[in-house]
Symmetry: C2
Subunit: 224 residues, 2 copies
């Protein structure tokens, strides 16, 4: 395992994380660190535990250059040693419900009756969901945030990216129509610390009890 | 500040977090802890730093009962002392771009020229985005995950919820049409530790270089 220094607490990692602008192209990411970050990302919660996220990990120079061409030629796509294309799998309920439930019963986390109940409920409700893309996006973005904060805690810089040509990414990397592209995540090491771009206070983003009703509790005394 | 014990590291919080099934209705959440959790959630990254998440915090018994009626009568909605309705604000670019950029310049994180450039780019691209709901959902789910992991690290149990009647929540809580309901988050203290429901291995959810190309790096040696 690569030397990492102290693993950060959650408040430290959330407060310190920046969307890295410039990655060091000469500083690779070890396999061990990459696997740990992806494994932690996959601990995210998901609807019915169906885990519809898929991580398409792009590391070769050639493929990062192909991805960069899909992402408005942003240099960080080739400077970062690892690019993760986060996908959302719309039909996870068709192929992954049974293995997920079997594992859950095996772990003692559910009875066989409980599993049968979930299976019946999913079979009733999922095929009628007119927007499985939104369904898959929700859980996959939870996993994306888990990836970002896990990376930060282990001393790895990251950048989430939304600006790219979705159709072209799908075409270049063979992503089928039952998957959506949720976002890209660059992972590596920063060349410089990016400045804090600011956040709105809770007074601006919180409401009490009803939409529009002002937030009266004030701001946190401390985040860290 | 309420007694919390040791603040967890990111790997600890991601691995230990469970979607809590049963909350202790007699164990409230202090204002200080709530503000800190929301403040940490608001550290999430967002597209153009527009922070389109809005947290509608429901704490009164009467309003939690109203929310429960919108959420298939699930007991956790009234058992948990705090329910957060996470909203996504579709038109954040119209009302919040200028104050965000002004703050960023003030913090020295951007030049006035840089801010003018961002403003021009947003004015060109955002009004043509045919799906601002998806745009707002992405960042708001990043903030939701930040909320869950922040809560866990501070000894607060949580449960993300997707099963509810979106239209009815909007109606009951006065949410206007330029906002979407992303998810609900219950916060409080667990009556019992929920069992680990299992996760697929990286071999199941990762691809290398191209969609469908098997993951050969294996599983992480350790997550914690």
């Amino acid at each position: 395992m690569e030397e990492q220094g102290r693993v950060l607490t959650v408040p430290e990692a959330l407060v310190n994380r920046r969307a890295t602008r410039r990655f060091d192209p000469n500083h690779p990411l070890s396999d061990d660190l990459l696997k740990r970050i992806l494994g932690l990302a996959a601990c995210a919660p998901s609807s019915t535990n169906l885990q519809p996220w898929r991580f398409l990990v792009v590391r070769t120079e050639k493929n990062r250059a192909r991805l960069r061409a899909c992402a408005f030629n942003q240099p960080k796509v080739t400077d970062a040693p690892v690019m993760v294309i986060v996908l959302g799998y719309k039909n996870a309920y068709e192929t992954h419900l049974e293995p997920m439930l079997a594992n859950r019963v095996e772990l003692g986390a559910m009875t066989t009756d409980g599993a049968a109940e979930v299976k019946a409920r999913v079979s009733r409700s999922f095929p009628n969901n007119p927007d499985l893309a939104t369904w898959a996006l929700r859980s996959s973005m939870l996993a994306s945030m888990s990836m970002l904060v896990a990376a930060e805690s282990l001393g790895v810089a990251s950048a989430p990216m939304e600006g790219f040509d979705h159709a072209r990414v799908k075409e270049e990397f063979g992503v089928p129509d039952d998957h959506i592209v949720c976002c890209l995540v660059a992972l590596g090491h920063a060349l410089a610390t990016d400045p804090f771009p600011g956040r709105f206070g809770l007074t601006e983003v919180c409401y009490e009890e009803h939409f529009g009703q002002p937030w009266t509790l004030g701001e946190p005394e401390t985040l860290l």
